[in-house]
């Protein structure tokens, strides 16, 4: 229940069922519904919330403006084709509003003032001028803010609906009620042009939301972050920017047990502006992080930005998904598994197998690595598909290396002698070997006391031929 100047101004359905109604005093409410939550109306917060919602809705059209009585007007004429028609667009807008944690009544009409009147009455979608006129005729006069001052007089005349006001003689009406009422009516019916001050996205983005309670669960935090990301997406679209790095911070309890805010950085390898993609990344990031203390507020800032690159669509889309899809997949995997767990191959031209087999994170661009010489693979002697992290010493049985069973050589030796320039000389003879169950291995022989000493060489298993 919300109070404004000690009178009820908004209330929930259960409170209404208990007999509370608008305009009631605080004492009466406490008598009827003692367990109700009583809140004071905060005009400033209402305004900020509306501003935030308007910012988020910039995703759908650059022409967004705020109207009286908590309304946001969107000019969607140019967006219909892009978003797949009015129904799809309405659905998307409703999803965005819900993600912000708000609820809204959506109405569409051919005039902005008409849509504004309809939205405050209920959910109405009119697409033609005639149906708008029919709908408007039936609306109560109360909705017209310019007519509020003359409401009793109009009701006394028997004018309860806009249609009846419309039929009154214009000259007399203007003399009695002033120009505003007629001008508003004309704008609603499309008889006069409308002028709006469209919202302009701020030059930098920073958003913050206060949480209703102290929250520890990262899932719930992700839901609140979604509202912030919706604003970010609107802002990015309006300014034709894409984000490379975003920063999310969680504010903790202030005061005696003050804890510094936790900061989470989400870096993207390819700039993105899609809300869903950003949300999945932030969600995974949040799920992986642990909070030192419950959070009381959530903030979001855009750190590194780039201008948006329009994706080129193909006439015949390929089944494998686009390169952007793959980048998005990689980012998602990195967000959950960690950058060191998603790797791409960057083989180096070196004869030592463990040096040649180099892997790096996919977030590193291959161009930034030291250049790798491409050796003609087919000219090299056999190489296994798996390499053991550490060569496994093999014991000998009847002068044959033994791994699960005695190994039998299937190839001539390959001498690899390298690494002397790094002070770690390495002399190995590699063989392909086969065990009793016909699995193939890559084993090597290392001389301990030099090649010509009497000592037995040590055998190691280094790889598997899959």
């Amino acid at each position: 229940m919300v109070f404004e100047r000690d009178r009820v101004s908004a209330l929930t359905a259960p409170a209404r069922a208990l007999g509370v109604h608008e305009g009631m005093r605080r004492g009466g409410v406490q008598l009827l519904a003692p367990q109700a939550h009583l809140n004071e109306r905060d005009i400033l917060r209402e305004q900020t919330t509306l501003q935030q919602a308007a910012l988020a809705l910039l995703q759908y059209t650059p022409q967004v403006t705020l109207a009286e009585e908590a309304c946001i007007l969107l000019e969607v004429g140019a967006s219909l084709r892009l978003f797949g028609g009015i129904r799809a667009l309405c659905r998307k807008i409703r999803v965005t509003i819900a993600r912000m944690g708000l609820s809204a009544t959506l109405s569409c009409a051919v005039t902005a003032t008409g849509a504004w009147l309809l939205a405050r009455y209920g959910y109405v979608r009119t697409l033609s001028h005639r149906s708008l006129q029919r709908r408007l005729d039936r609306l109560p006069v109360v909705l017209l803010t310019a007519a509020r001052a003359h409401l009793e007089w109009l009701h006394g005349l028997g004018c309860r609906q806009l249609g009846q006001v419309q039929r009154l003689p214009r000259a007399g009406l203007q003399r009695r009620c002033g120009k505003d009422l007629l001008a508003m009516l004309d704008r609603a019916y499309g008889a006069a042009p409308e002028v709006h001050d469209w919202i302009v996205a701020p030059p930098t983005f920073q958003a913050r939301v206060e949480l209703p309670d102290r929250i520890e669960h990262t899932d719930i935090l992700a839901a609140y972050a979604q509202g912030l990301l919706a604003q970010l997406a609107g802002w990015l679209t309006a300014r034709q920017l894409a984000i490379k790095k975003l920063r999310l911070w969680l504010e903790h309890e202030r005061g005696r047990q003050a804890v510094a805010p936790t900061e989470l950085q989400v870096a993207l390898s390819v700039p993105a502006w899609q809300e869903d993609h950003l949300h999945t990344l932030v969600k995974e990031k949040l799920a992986r992080s642990s909070l030192p203390a419950p959070a009381i507020a959530l903030g979001l800032a855009a750190d590194e930005l780039e201008s948006q690159q329009a994706a080129s669509e193909m006439l015949f889309p390929e089944p494998g998904g686009s390169a952007e899809d793959h980048q998005r997949l990689l980012e998602l995997l990195v967000a959950r598994l960690g950058a060191d767990k998603v790797q791409q191959a960057a083989p180096r031209a070196d004869h030592r197998p463990e040096v040649a087999n180099r892997w790096c994170s996919v977030m590193q661009s291959p161009a930034s690595l030291p250049a790798s010489l491409t050796t003609d693979a087919a000219r090299l002697p056999p190489r296994p598909l798996w390499l053991l992290a550490e060569p496994l010493p093999l014991r000998m049985q009847q002068h044959k290396p033994f791994y699960r069973s005695a190994l039998e050589f299937t190839s001539p030796p390959e001498r690899i002698e390298a690494g002397w320039w790094e002070g770690r000389p390495l002399t190995r003879d590699y063989f392909t070997a086969r065990d009793a169950s016909h699995a193939y291995y890559w084993i090597f022989r290392q001389w301990r006391g030099g090649e010509w000493s009497d000592e037995e060489p040590q055998w190691f298993l280094h790889g598997l031929f899959g």
Binding site: K341, A345, N357, A439, G466
Partner: protein
């Protein structure tokens, strides 16, 4: 008149995805050739079916499972895309470190490989699902150790995710999983044999095949292309020389 044993002589006339239990399913006709004539003839849809969970059950790592997949993995799909994007192969939970030069040797360029490691089985399944959903890789190879009881929903979930795309999805599991139920429509057991691989058909869309299929496969065809050794009397050269030459490719 139709006999009772076969009410419809050719059910595929009614609908392409219908088949008799005595036939191999040929409805999809979108199988990716495995590169082995003998195996293609035994697989429904004449090859590895994309967008389906394919289970390969192995007694141990390295019996020749990758040799079996070599033709299909080495062949990048012919697309207009730039080379680094074409035919990526994701390796999830690989049992050992992947040796990129070895794969390059096999015909898979290093730039096509993507190695994923997850700490938990749940993370691995999640990653597999994401890869399948994105449908931007040519193939996904996932090594899945024995599942705990109650985790079998994961397999079903992955199979459903696979159906959304065209990714070739191979799951490599230990042979002990053969007795467990699985939603995979194609389950093969692999066993290494002398100079080849024994493939057992555990489950397929087609008649039961009791005896296993022998595919001649060498660890790497480059054994033959090996640098000619100075000493020709080594036993290895003899083994290599005894190979039929048509298997060299």
């Amino acid at each position: 008149m139709l006999t009772s044993s076969s009410p419809v002589p050719r059910p595929e006339i009614i609908h392409p995805s219908l088949w008799l239990a005595s036939q191999l399913a040929r409805g999809g006709a979108r199988g990716v050739s495995s590169g082995f004539e003998a195996l293609d003839a035994e697989l429904p849809e004449r090859g590895w079916p994309p967008g389906v969970l394919i289970e390969l059950l192995l007694p141990q790592e390295g019996v020749g499972e990758l040799r079996l997949l070599r033709p299909v993995l080495a062949r990048a799909p012919a697309t207009a895309r730039r080379p680094p994007q074409a035919g990526r192969i994701a390796l999830l939970q690989a049992p050992h470190q992947v040796n990129a030069p070895g794969w390059a040797h096999m015909g898979v360029e290093a730039s096509r490989l993507l190695q994923l490691q997850a700490d938990h089985a749940a993370d691995a399944c999640w990653a597999a699902e994401q890869v399948l959903r994105a449908d931007s890789c040519q193939a996904l190879l996932m090594w899945q150790p024995r599942l705990r009881k109650g985790d079998h929903d994961l397999l079903r979930r992955l199979h459903v995710a696979a159906q959304a795309g065209q990714t070739l999805f191979f799951m490599l599991r230990p042979l002990s999983c053969a007795r467990e139920p699985s939603p995979a429509p194609l389950r093969l057991t692999l066993k290494s044999a002398r100079d080849g691989l024994e493939i057992g058909f555990l489950k397929r869309r087609g008649p039961l095949r009791e005896q296993s299929l022998f595919l001649p496969l060498l660890p790497s065809p480059n054994l033959q292309r090996h640098v000619t050794p100075v000493d020709r009397r080594t036993p290895a050269t003899a083994a290599a020389g005894s190979l039929p030459s048509e298997l060299a490719g």
